[in-house]
Subunit: 541 residues, 2 copies
Amino acid sequence: MKSFKIALAQFSPFVGDIESNVQKMIEQANQAKKQNVEIIVFPELSTIGYPAEDLLLRPSLAKRTVHAFEQLAAVKDIVMVFGFVNLAEDGHRYNSAAVMKDGQVLGVYNKQNLPNYSVFDEKRYFNEGHQHLVFEYLGHKFGVLICEDVWSLTTVQQLAQLNVESILVLNASPYEVGKPQHRITTLKELAKQLNVHVVYANQVGGQDDLIFDGTSFVINHSGDVAFQAPSFKEDLYIVDYQAEEKAYKVLESAPALDTIAEIYQSLVLATRDYVQRSGFPGVILGLSGGIDSALTLAIAVDAIGADKVQAVMMPYTYTSQISVEDATEQAQRMGVTFGIAEIHPIVNSFMQTLYPFFGNAPADTTEENLQARARGTLLMGLSNKFGNLVLATGNKSELSVGYCTLYGDMVGGFAVLKDVYKTIVFELAKYRNSIAETPVIPERVITRPPSAELRPDQKDQDSLPAYDVLDAILYAYIEEDQSQEDIIAKGFEREVVEKVIRLVDRNEYKRRQGSIGPRISSRAFSRERRYPIVNGWKAGI
Amino acid sequence: MKSFKIALAQFSPFVGDIESNVQKMIEQANQAKKQNVEIIVFPELSTIGYPAEDLLLRPSLAKRTVHAFEQLAAVKDIVMVFGFVNLAEDGHRYNSAAVMKDGQVLGVYNKQNLPNYSVFDEKRYFNEGHQHLVFEYLGHKFGVLICEDVWSLTTVQQLAQLNVESILVLNASPYEVGKPQHRITTLKELAKQLNVHVVYANQVGGQDDLIFDGTSFVINHSGDVAFQAPSFKEDLYIVDYQAEEKAYKVLESAPALDTIAEIYQSLVLATRDYVQRSGFPGVILGLSGGIDSALTLAIAVDAIGADKVQAVMMPYTYTSQISVEDATEQAQRMGVTFGIAEIHPIVNSFMQTLYPFFGNAPADTTEENLQARARGTLLMGLSNKFGNLVLATGNKSELSVGYCTLYGDMVGGFAVLKDVYKTIVFELAKYRNSIAETPVIPERVITRPPSAELRPDQKDQDSLPAYDVLDAILYAYIEEDQSQEDIIAKGFEREVVEKVIRLVDRNEYKRRQGSIGPRISSRAFSRERRYPIVNGWKAGI
């Protein structure tokens, strides 16, 4: 028995790029060695990144994996525990962990519990493993588990019964509000109950709509946290096992984030990774003077820097002067490229072309949508010409009820606030102002009543219930799967609930064509909430 | 032992609308009784329809299912074998079949093989059954299987060994080219080998991107087809079991369709069901004088009738006179509402607004995209004003390589040709002309070289390889999962293959925001080919 050091590689893979991921793994292993680390633990599927989706089905994966092992074999004098796709000779495919030292594979573990719910589709790709892996090193007995395994009491118990002292857990556990603390709370209980240490390494980084927060940690068998890594940050963290204490040394942990700070940082990370990994030189967005675009701008600047962000104000007849002032003001405060493009001539030319077709049909949302689509097309024109990614600025409340224009304000490659309810948008804006010496978002943007400014004196609340009511109904219906009658029984007005639910159900087609955006809730649209567009389900009963 | 009649309910459910599906099931059972039918077999999950996706997770499903059983219990004097969601007391959810007579449930079968590949996600929703169901009725021994079960030799063998004479198979088997005959060919072999009759009832109808072709059938234990129902048609088909021959009577079957006719009919059905079940009064599309919109128009008219179809020609500087002539001509021949809307003023107003931003940047595809987006916005304006659904007209070849404009020609709620390669578009257009006395698509539309007409004298083949080459490369890469090097090894030019694959990989973001469209291939985009947008997989190796 001796003391040793373990490195938690809180690793941000580039999904699909096995070559570059393996290079980074080798660098991190070498870096760890310099600090006398004996074992380095990488996240789940660290070679290919998570989730690689149908790339896992490409035939050349076998060849690529062999090549990855050849490269990793060159690392000496450190035990690497990493994730890979195990393509067995019988044609089975496993989500696996390898334990490798000096080019020798000391053991392979195949994940036993494959999540196939929520955002997960692992049974599409993998077969279940049926065997535990235990290895002894430096007189210490280690077990290996992968992500979902640790949520199966049976699986963890079976492993603990093999007299394992430390369980190394490789994870790609996606972020949602409160999840970082939830993992730790649950595993503290488990570590204590089963008398094992838990060494938990989680992926970090944005991948399409998923955010991986990292927040890797070590829990001693006493149930105490020995170390908790920061969230949303890629780095190597080193912990010390002290043989005489039979426990990991308690190190200074990253302070826990409050909910709003946690969400804000998650959105910054997701935006940065999407933009950079897609290879865009920068982003462009429409800045309306409203709170959604104001917050999106702040997040974009925090993600990639003001010099890479372009904002365009596109006023029309119904745009108030204070919107122009506030947009200009924020752009100046944040130091981004800013321009104003009037859309009157464009909207007029659409109107004139359409009048002969419209005849005497009364004005309705059609004319409002033209404004939004003129703006969307301008942004796309600027994007096409200079290569910047368009960020969509809509929030989850809007998107839920379809209070947004397809091919208009929904234009964009990444919708930063897609999974953020409007009430949280306000909190995030206030939070962002609170952490700066000078608030970056003009106060008036936060305090004035929200308006799409698509007709005279329009307010969001003319068409929608107050946002606190709307968001509460949406949360009950979407996140909690409650029925219409359940929600009415909670005390909301019948008429309001029926309208909201009808709008949610009817706007699936719109959401389906919207861009992706980072998931922060326990029920984000698209990957996690898969509804048929055409369907006759009636919410009422 | 006696003779009996079985009705195959080739049923088109409205997904999610259990109430209306159950009403239709009751009507069909009563209709069958009038023809002295003893047993009626419905498709898989006939009460809720297939695939109901996350509607299956809604808590009120239990209550709705109980209600469905109460209603079905009112049907007397006929055995109904139908599909439903079995919510077991232990919390397990099964994809099940009930055998019911006079309100009594004689047996329940839980599907044993749950497909979770291709377009299927059944392990997201269901647990696997582990028991066979055999029932004797009229001195005949029946077994029950559900769809995927019949593709597991082990499962079918186990059932056959229980001395079953006829296997009733409830299906929701989606269409793809050649699938109707493939099912029959495979099951003929199996019936003969295991010495059982196979009674196969399949769902029919379009559901979002999936098409169910029906093509229900009965195969005798000799391996001979006793009956094959027409494809793409909802109806009740009755077959006779003759006790003395110990076989089903051979009836006149629907003639097999050739491939192009099969595809054409599948697209008509998909379009009709999408439009009607979404509740649109009609459709609108941009008619360009090119073959894609010409074919889409023909399909739309065949699906819902000329009186419900509006076509708009939107010429610009680069639109040739023959395009205007041909579009006008086809609209007249087909008798649809037709209008012409010049887009010059709109494009000019966009250009003028953008010039100050563009500075001296040279013209590129940005300007071309403005034309496409002006058109898209006009179509959406007309759609918003009058309620017609916009049909997108792009084909699979374009969509694969991104030769299309997001928020431009990709605008629409349903993309009829989304899964149809350009070479097949030509075949379908010729086919449609061949079945009419007067060809509906002007000959010149089919024979002229394809052009997007977005710049002077543009031809598709200036930017893309010839369509037969392009489609062959795409098919190898997408449908057959071949690597770049595999495809080059087949004899295609390296430079061309590299370019095509690069374009396919790079345009995932565009496809993700495109509308849904009917799946006819073995590898349609979106539900079936799930690729990360951001990824670093390099096709080369």
